[in-house]
Amino acid sequence: MFWTSYFLAVLAIALAWPVPILLSRARWPARSPFTAMLLWQAIALAGGLSMIGAMLVYGLEPLGDNLLAGLNALAAMVLHNAPTTELGFWHIFALSAAALLTAHLLFTLLLTYYRIERQRRRHRELLALLASPSADGPRTVVISHDSPVAYCLPGGARSVTVLSDGLMSALEPAELRAVLDHENAHLDQRHHLLLWAFAAWRQALPWLPTTRLAQEAVNSLIEMLADDVALRTESKATLIKAIAIVASGPAPSPNAGSGFTGQIAPDVEAQPDGTTGGAGSALTTATRVSRLLSAEPPLSAAFRGLVLAACVLLLAVPTALLIVPGLLG
């Protein structure tokens, strides 16, 4: 029991600090964004699991030889109001921390969902009054605004892609198709769920700087994934030009913000204090364009296999450490 909690704690620390930093600096994710996306998810899930698991196992140590036995003993203790003399101060502390962290993570996930949903509902209400249907697609509407802006608003059957007047007049038909393919890829691949999960992860643990790294990486990886879909039908030059025009197009009014393709509205990276990933989106645009320009080959199948194996291990090892001893014993 003791060694399990020790190992899980080491794993939790590794996944909370050095591993995300190394991955955020690596250059290969741009060559295989899907694989990198899986790895980020595995790191976050395994990190949370080992964090909670380590505390749980440590706290239950006096009560049983394994997690399941320990949990049974604890449940009996709580249900029958038995004395907790077997548990020392630190054991109770660890158990409370594990329970609080679990509740905190789940609660933040739900709260973030509720906040995003409320914002989207309001956004959809206004769009219904302001935007007019577009000739470019069934789920596409046009809003009257001078900045070149394109974004998608997810919502199941009510998902919609929004284009601005400014965008329509700035782009050639092929470039517009590239932008639409890009936005539809966001909707088809349900990227808003990833953004939601990682926004909640950051919201829940704001003092852990690597949650910000994870969120930024996920933001830019979904853009790359959507770019790859657009590249299936449109040429690289068209896509680059569309990105460049949208990111640097003529700003007609002084207070117009910077538009760029690939937003999923409302901005789920927006923090309650009002700061957004503005600088991050500049970085994302730059990364996207230089990725398209440098044209490095996709990762080899062997390397991708290795990363996938790492993902499976990351999830399997903590789970097995927590559950298997109980099943065997």
Binding site: A128, S144, V149, G257, S258
Partner: protein
């Protein structure tokens, strides 16, 4: 019969276009006029629109915070809370956030582009 959503849109269009507050009766007349102007059947707003329907639509819009009522007068007069442009700006702000101006985006990109990337970019854009 037009759906409530379509009516909400038509009412907001009238309020945004009008300069001053309007009563539900006035809005009903305007809606009927615009239907006739579109050749009756082509219009999406029903011809025999009841004032109570207009009031329902107005109260829905009021609940959404888009329309406000002047309570001093009878019958109540309604007006849009803010202009169409302000609402559009609100949406755009949500999407773009407080992102830095586009020059920052460009500067960041130019700062990070390598010589070979710049060469490829020149080649690609030259072909268009």
């Amino acid at each position: 019969m037009a759906s409530l959503g379509e009516l909400e849109r038509a009412v907001m269009d009238l309020l945004w276009a009008g300069q001053e507050a309007a009563t539900a009766n006035r809005l009903r007349d305007l809606l009927a006029q615009s239907t006739q102007a579109h050749g009756g059947s082509a219009g999406h707003v029903g011809k025999d629109l009841a004032v109570t329907t207009v009031l329902t639509v107005l109260s829905r819009l009021e609940k959404k915070g888009l329309v406000e009522r002047e309570r001093g007068t009878r019958p109540h007069r309604y007006q849009a809370v803010s202009s169409r442009e302000d609402h559009t700006a609100e949406l755009m702000h949500e999407v773009l956030g407080s992102a830095p101006d586009r020059e920052a985006v460009l500067a960041r990109f130019i700062g990070s582009v390598t010589e070979s990337e710049a060469e490829t970019l020149r080649k690609l854009l030259g072909h268009i």
